[in-house]
């Protein structure tokens, strides 16, 4: 006699245990330390912090360890954790002009005040697997320059701004919106768009940015400036009434210079795209800047025809936590609805027994 | 009695460029007005402003609503405007694909407006759709076919049926025969003329083709660079043009 399937609880417990065992791997190998992840897989940590929307290297490292290196899963862990954190306010806007620069390049000018500072980058490496690394070689010490990098480097956007060649970002009094507190309303303001893109999946944005370069809504970009380094985070507690520095973080900022625009009132000016990521997330910052500019098509009077210019399409599908959840939810039981479909299809076929099945 | 449509000083600018400038006229029930001119003359801009799809820079467009008489269509609020566009008005696009749902059957296309205003009897909706397909000379057998399988002329006739099913009082047409070959055009024009007369429709027809204007329109407005350079009864304007531009237009029509 058929007995209804039971044992879901036990199955889940066993699955968890099996997963924990697989995560540990061979007990003979040393346990992975969070310091190792933070120290030697820093770029993974950077991405997880950016898309997880929390700046905490140790938490990100833990998430990466818990997720066995699946970064999207790690991002999910951070986001879920973030939900529980109390919020006591917003920082002052980061002053990236005052950044302690470790890398700063511009493809718009051959040379500029402060110079082209390569910093730590894979850019000019030859992508040859380094087998010495597999053996655990220690790197040579990098040579120290005879003088430090310029303390303050003018921004390329400001250089162009002196002549009025590039659009000014409008200064607003309204506080920026917050997608973690309010649902996205369309059409979205640039503040929410940028927040959405900052949290958005790097792969998705990269593909959209790529598509814009291949003609799907070309914005004729130049990398005006990419800078990476430390910035101070300042917060003004109500009780004090003035801002204090509560720490410093590393960020990568990208300002794209794009196709110029003019109108009958305003002479032609370059337009801008902006990208920002925690740590050294340069690819992300660049992709974000390209998509930011593409999404501004409407406000700049351009025909919005390409996917990268479609605000609703981009913003509704950029979040990999949402995307992963919904795609993978297909694994959940759907047998009741499937049963309904079976009933219908059988009924329809019974109603037309003479029809041949399609070849 | 009110005019059906009363337009005053209608102007639409694109930055410094003139779309249309200072257009004024009245349209009466059952009247067909043609707007002619070459491409770039501003006729499409004008039509868009008149049909509530493009807000003018200045001027008014007032429609004689059933409840409140002459009302500025841009002052009336979107819900009312949409209702108007679904019932009292029809819009026939140059490209019929813009005015149809290509993914649903011909019958559904025609029946949609009825369903939008509350029709809930499948059989009756289908019967009305069938009737209208016949009126626009589409074989009733095609009622369940997707528009993807229709020819250009058929698509245009389907679009017309879709618009007329709620007995609108005013129909806007943008180059209704554009893109169709000559014999198909002739048949379509014939149909339009008959429908307009039989149903007492008022219409505003934008066209660059003077033959179309002559066949369909009672009155004409000739546009050049956004302004109306001449207007009057169709036959008068075409047979005895006063403005040099109209004369040029008329004389450059190829005689078969």
């Amino acid at each position: 006699m058929y007995v209804a399937v039971k044992g879901g609880e036990k199955a889940i417990d066993n699955a968890h245990r099996l997963m924990a065992e697989e995560r540990r791997g061979d007990p003979a190998t040393p346990v992975l330390g969070l310091d190792q992840i933070m120290g030697q897989l820093g770029l993974a940590v950077d991405r997880v912090m950016t898309e997880g929307s929390i700046h905490d290297r140790e938490l990100a490292a833990l998430a990466i360890k818990q997720a066995q290196g699946d970064l999207v899963e790690a991002i999910f862990l951070l986001r879920a954790y973030r939900t529980t954190l109390p919020r006591f306010g917003c920082s002052e806007p980061l002053d990236t002009a005052a950044m302690a620069i470790r890398r700063r390049i511009s493809s718009a000018f051959k040379d500029l005040p402060g110079g082209q500072v390569l910093g730590p980058t894979y850019d000019y490496t030859h992508r040859l697997l380094d087998f010495a690394l597999a053996e655990g070689s220690e790197p040579d010490t990098a040579e120290c320059a005879d003088r430090p990098v310029e303390a303050r480097m003018p921004r390329v956007a400001d250089v162009l701004g002196h002549e009025g060649l590039i659009e000014r970002n409008p200064v607003g009094d309204d506080p920026p919106g917050d997608l973690t507190r309010q649902p996205l309303g369309l059409p979205a303001g640039r503040d929410l768009r940028l927040q959405n893109l900052a949290r958005g999946d790097e792969g998705f944005l990269l593909a959209l940015a790529y598509s814009s370069q291949r003609g799907y809504g070309n914005t004729h970009p130049f990398a005006g400036e990419i800078r990476m380094g430390e910035v101070a985070v300042e917060f003004a507690p109500e009780e004090l009434g003035f801002a204090i520095e509560i720490g410093e973080i590393t960020v990568t900022e990208c300002q794209m210079i794009n196709q110029f625009k003019g109108s009958k009132d305003v002479p032609p000016q370059f337009t801008r795209g902006y990208g920002l990521a925690f740590g050294k997330g340069e690819r992300k910052a660049m992709a974000m800047a390209l998509v930011d500019r593409s999404l501004r098509a409407g406000e700049l009077g351009e025909d919005a025809v390409a996917p990268a210019q479609d605000e609703e399409f981009v913003l509704m599908h950029s979040d990999n936590v949402e995307a992963s959840g919904f795609v993978q939810h297909l694994k959940l039981p759907h047998y009741v609805d499937f049963q309904s479909e079976l009933e219908l299809i059988r009924r329809l076929r019974a109603a037309n027994p003479d029809r041949e099945a399609a070849e | 009695m009110n005019p059906l449509l009363k337009v005053t000083g209608l102007t639409r600018m694109y930055g410094a460029r003139v779309g249309c400038k200072d257009v004024s006229f009245e349209l009466w029930p059952g009247e067909v007005m043609g707007i002619v001119g070459e491409s770039g003359s501003g006729k499409t801009t004008l039509l868009s402003c008149l049909s509530a799809r493009l807000e003018p820079t200045s001027g008014t467009v007032a429609y004689d609503t059933r409840e409140d008489g002459l009302t500025d269509i841009y002052a009336m609020g979107e819900p009312r405007r949409r209702m108007l566009m679904r019932t009292d008005w029809g819009i026939v696009h140059q490209n019929p694909r813009d005015g149809l749902r290509m993914g649903v059957s011909a019958g559904a296309n025609v029946g949609e407006r009825l369903m939008a205003v509350g029709a809930r009897h499948y059989g009756s909706i289908r019967a009305q759709a069938d009737e209208w397909l016949r009126k626009v000379e589409i074989d009733g057998e095609r009622i369940d076919d997707l528009p993807l399988t229709f020819s250009g002329g058929m698509l245009q006739r389907l679009q017309i049926a879709r618009n007329l099913v709620t007995h609108p009082r005013l129909v806007f047409m943008d180059e209704p025969t554009g893109g169709l070959d000559v014999s198909v055009q002739a048949r379509l024009l014939d149909l339009l003329r008959r429908l307009v007369t039989d149903l007492g429709l008022a219409a505003i027809v934008v066209t660059h083709d003077l033959a179309v204007a002559r066949l369909l329109a009672h009155r004409l407005m000739v546009m050049r660079r956004g302004e109306v350079v001449e207007s009057g009864l169709t036959d008068q304007v075409l047979d005895d043009p006063h403005h040099p531009y109209t004369q040029l237009l008329v004389s450059s029509v190829l005689q078969p």
Partner: protein, 283 residues
């Protein structure tokens, strides 16, 4: 009352619960209308019930008794997972008996046992927007709801009849709530639609990923869309439940061998078990 280490009762902080309750109140005030809300990331993935979980977390209290079902069963993996989540973070009593629950969170079914006043049914919703397949743009569907511009929905039903001779939607079947708003009841089979009409319980719908909450207050008119000459009808089976003999509940088809052998059992496990018990008691 215990809760997981360092977490507030039912996981969400009180501010967030208040925000969700405000959204719920708006939803109850406008039956069937989708209220946007600041959905939070939850420890379960989007698409796996985060909307339902947030609604439940906002309304549940220490004195409540919670039942969680998925496909009508208490023991399916996700129902187990969600029930455990609340046991851990809220320490509330849980039950498998519909009649004993004060809050029931469900995925894809309405319990067969009729609900009573004072009970809350929380539905997990994947796609809240009934017009989504006809019109992908949110900016457009919002207008359509505001203007009650629902002609396109009937077009779809018309097409089904033209093509198949009958309406081909078998689950997530659209309804008109309180004579005004078009609503998606979540992927419950159409078999369950009539249960929503004039139900004494409060019905709440949570879509976490899409960030919408909507509601059907007790004793509200809920009508499944149809045509006068093609009225709404529910599924029927020729078979009875192989376990309890029920002929009027939704049956799951179970494949028993690879030669096409199958049997049918109640999808609602509590309903089936209760009937079994009553039958045995009568013998």
């Amino acid at each position: 009352m215990t809760s997981a280490q360092g977490y507030n009762f039912a996981y969400l902080d009180e501010q967030t619960k208040r925000m969700i309750r405000r959204a719920i109140l708006k939803a109850v005030a406008i039956p069937g209308y989708q209220v946007p809300f600041g959905s939070r990331e939850m420890p379960l993935p989007y698409g796996w019930g985060t909307g339902g979980i947030q609604v439940t977390a906002a309304v549940i209290g220490p004195a409540d008794t919670l039942k969680v079902i998925d496909q009508g069963a208490d023991d399916t993996t996700n129902a187990v997972s969600i029930r455990r989540f609340f046991a851990r973070t809220a320490g509330v009593a849980t039950t498998e008996r519909t009649a004993d629950a004060t809050v029931i969170q469900t995925r894809h079914r309405i319990p067969e046992t009729p609900l009573a006043e004072g009970q809350i049914l929380v539905y997990q919703v994947p796609i809240p927007e009934p017009l989504r397949w006809l019109e992908p743009r949110e900016t457009e569907t919002r207008k359509m709801h505001a203007l009650a511009d629902y002609g396109a929905m009937h077009v779809k039903l018309y097409e089904d009849i033209a093509r198949f001779g009958r309406i081909a939607t078998t689950y997530d079947y659209p309804v008109l709530v309180n004579g005004r708003y078009l609503m998606r009841p979540s992927p419950i089979p159409k078999f369950d639609n009539p249960k929503m009409h004039m139900n004494p319980a409060l019905q709440l719908f949570g879509a976490g990923r899409e960030k919408r909450i909507y509601a059907v207050p007790p004793y509200t008119d809920v009508k499944s869309l149809d045509f006068e000459d093609h009225p709404f009808e529910v599924q029927k089976w020729d078979e009875a439940c192989a376990i309890c003999g029920s002929t009027d509940s939704f049956l799951d088809e179970v494949v028993t061998d690879d030669k096409g052998g199958r049997m049918y059992v109640c999808s609602d496990t509590d309903h089936c078990t209760s009937r079994q018990i009553r039958r045995e008691a009568a013998e």
